[in-house]
């Protein structure tokens, strides 16, 4: 253990007294309360995202339509976790699975949870859900199941860290933005310029 560590902790102990350990309520104790999907969608829109509510098996079709509407090439990077959504149903849509690179204009990414309180999507990193795909492409299309919408931040945090903390838990609330030039809000700073959310039902 480093000497700096001992000195810093020593100073704190001197000033605060050893005292008893305060046992904080672990966050995992918060119940995973379900959230209102309507509220969730409204907050998402307020944060600058666009939202569509569709059946689960309509994702490939919705993605193809969205790209057409936006005048984007019919080509997407798809996070491996979504590989089994039946992409063959859209033969004109070119799909690549795996990690996004600089050439990917659009990516389809899963959101593990939604948060009604804030209109946030929760991305939990995993082998089949790389973080890069949420940030590198210009356009993000996120897929979230309506029964994965939690009520508030506490519920989302406890649900996201049930077994152990994954490497990254990211709350995404709208597209990337900046106000660094004359305090004017502009979308698409470094992350996606647009965020389209497909809220799916079974």
């Amino acid at each position: 253990m480093s000497a700096a560590r001992e000195r810093i902790l020593g100073r704190l102990r001197d000033r605060l007294g050893e005292g008893s350990q305060e046992s904080p309520h672990p966050s995992a104790a918060a119940s995973a309360r379900a959230g209102d999907v309507g509220v969730f969608c409204r907050r998402l829109e307020a944060a600058g995202a666009t939202v569509e509510r569709i059946p689960e098996d309509a994702v490939p079709q919705a993605v193809a339509q969205y790209l057409t509407q936006r005048n984007l090439a019919a080509r997407v990077r798809v996070s491996p976790a979504l590989a089994k959504l039946g992409w063959d149903a859209e033969p004109l849509l070119e799909t690549a699975f795996g990690i996004a690179d600089l050439d990917d204009a659009a990516a389809v990414v899963p959101a593990n949870l939604g948060v009604a309180e804030t209109g946030s999507l929760v991305h939990v990193s995993a082998g089949d859900n790389p973080t890069t795909n949420h940030f590198l492409p210009d356009h993000a299309i996120a897929v979230v199941a309506e029964d994965a919408v939690c009520a508030d931040l506490e519920a989302a945090f406890s649900a996201a860290s049930v077994s152990a903390m994954p490497r990254t838990v990211c709350l995404i609330t709208g597209p990337s933005r900046t106000g660094d030039i004359e305090q004017r809000i502009e979308l698409g700073a470094h992350g996606p310029r647009s965020l389209h959310v497909l809220v799916t039902r079974k």
Binding site: A4, P24, P26, M165, T168, V169
Partner: protein, 473 residues
């Protein structure tokens, strides 16, 4: 004076700032920008006052047992494969970062926005050791090109106008391009910076970010951003270094949630910033992206010695910037006039603690004690009270001018002799009223020429408040 960075003194710097037209144009936008957005956000959220109480409570509990939360943080972080480093001083922290980088052969470091890196003067130090630092936050990038320092804790380039940014981009981006970027709107400039910085993220061998808070129960660092640059910085390179000061830890994720409810609303007037990312350890064996190493540098730099003093409440600060956005002094002179890393009211309360009362003695005096900062501070930090504490320290150390000390001594003596005080002030009011003449104002007044140099001094009514009160009853 401090780590090679001379602290500019407020009195001279503020005069210069008042005459700087670009700065004044940029500062005029504060009202319709930051202030209006915060007001809207608070009005939209009816539980704001309760949320403030919860956030204050979370941080107060943390500080009461700070050593335990830090030990827990360290243990959890290491269980997850992270490495924790402890630094007492800026020099220690710089050295730790440098060794991490050189031992791994890092040439290019991408950086998310972190005020602690400014506090320790990291960029200049690394560049001296041949490590290229790439600022990726747009505001930080702009001031890196301009070779300046941030003038605001969340909007580092707030002092720059759009034409100034256009000029900077022209100077730095055009040499490699046959056809220059279009630069008609802020959106054009944002797109240009995005295009230029894209590749740099991938070139970097290491990424360095700050932390809005650290979570003891999970051993995680959390960043709250809007651009997405912080996430690219901590995801793409193979080494992620987090630079955080010790008071940033909170016990649980739920305590973090309490802070999140007030942070973005107070800072940018958003209900929630675009990205709130909790990072815990390096990439897992099954992950296909993410850094293979995760290091956290915990810096003290004087924080531990603040606990138990009347200034300890500054340790609750979550660096939202609301106090400076609403401060009439900051609004008039901008951030650079404060001379060091943290401007505005929080700077005036924190800088004397970090640099010493002597170096920073003007800052707590750069306030009219109007109290607007305390009113908007989500963490209910009594900033004016802390300014008064530092002013008292300055007086104790005899650092203020002889004239100021004499005036205070006279005032103190008078205040302790109420009869004389009433007599003296009564007479002064009567005389000043009689001498004022028809205009009822003074263009020039001995002992008050600091005031009359720039505006008239209105003549008093002829009676003191106490006189009037006594007559009334």
């Amino acid at each position: 004076m401090f780590d090679g960075r001379e602290i500019v003194q407020f009195p001279e710097a503020s005069v210069r700032a008042l005459g700087d037209e670009n700065l004044q144009a940029a500062l005029r936008l504060l009202g319709e920008g930051f202030q209006a957005r915060r007001t809207d956000a608070v009005e939209r959220f009816s539980e704001f006052e309760d949320a403030r109480d919860a956030a204050v409570d979370a941080k107060t509990r943390t500080l009461r047992r700070l050593h335990q939360h830090l030990e827990n943080f360290e243990a959890r972080c290491q269980e997850q494969g992270g490495v924790v480093h402890w630094a007492e001083t800026p020099a220690d922290a710089r050295q730790i970062v440098l060794e991490l980088l050189t031992s791994r052969g890092v040439r290019v470091l991408s950086k998310g926005k972190t005020m602690v890196a400014e506090e320790i003067g990291l960029n200049g130090f690394l560049e001296k050791h041949d490590i290229e630092v790439v600022e990726t936050d747009l505001g930080e990038y702009i001031i890196q090109l301009a070779e300046e320092v941030p003038s605001h804790i969340i909007a580092p380039a707030i002092h720059k106008t759009m034409p100034q940014v256009v000029e900077l981009f022209r100077q730095h981006h055009d040499q490699h391009k046959a056809e220059p970027f279009p630069r008609h709107t802020p959106a054009d400039l944002v797109a240009e910076a995005r295009a230029v910085l894209r590749r740099r993220f991938l070139e970097a061998d290491a990424g360095l970010t700050g932390a809005n808070f650290l979570v003891a129960e999970t051993g995680s660092s959390v960043i709250v951003t809007n651009e997405g640059n912080g996430d690219l910085t901590q995801t793409l390179p193979r080494l992620h270094i987090v630079l955080a000061t010790i008071e940033k830890v909170v016990p649980t994720l739920a305590d973090g949630a309490a802070i999140l409810r007030v942070l973005a609303r107070s800072a940018t007037g958003q209900d929630m910033s675009a990205y709130t990312t909790i990072s815990t350890g390096p990439r897992r064996s099954t992950d296909i992206d993410g850094p293979s190493e995760y290091h956290v540098v915990l810096l003290d730099n004087g924080r531990s010695s603040l606990l138990g003093t009347p200034a300890e409440e500054v340790l609750r600060c979550i660096r939202c910037g609301a106090c400076m956005n609403h401060c009439p002094v900051y609004g008039a002179v901008g951030g650079h006039a404060y001379g060091w890393v943290y401007p505005g009211p929080i700077g005036a309360a924190l800088t004397p603690a970090l640099l010493g009362v002597e170096a920073a003695r003007h800052l707590p005096n750069a306030s009219s004690l109007c109290g607007r900062c305390e009113e908007v501070c989500p963490m209910r930090i009594p900033l004016p009270k802390i300014f008064r504490y530092w002013r008292a320290k300055e007086h104790e150390a005899r650092l203020n001018t002889v004239r100021a000390r004499l005036a205070l001594a006279l005032w103190g003596w008078l205040a302790a002799h109420p009869r004389l005080y009433r007599l003296g002030t009564g007479a002064a009011m009567w005389i000043l009223s009689r001498l004022a003449g028809r205009s009822r104002r003074y263009r020039n007044l001995v002992l008050a020429n600091g005031w009359t140099r720039s505006r008239d001094f209105p003549a008093p009514a002829g009676r003191t408040f106490l006189n009037s009160w006594n007559r009334r009853s």
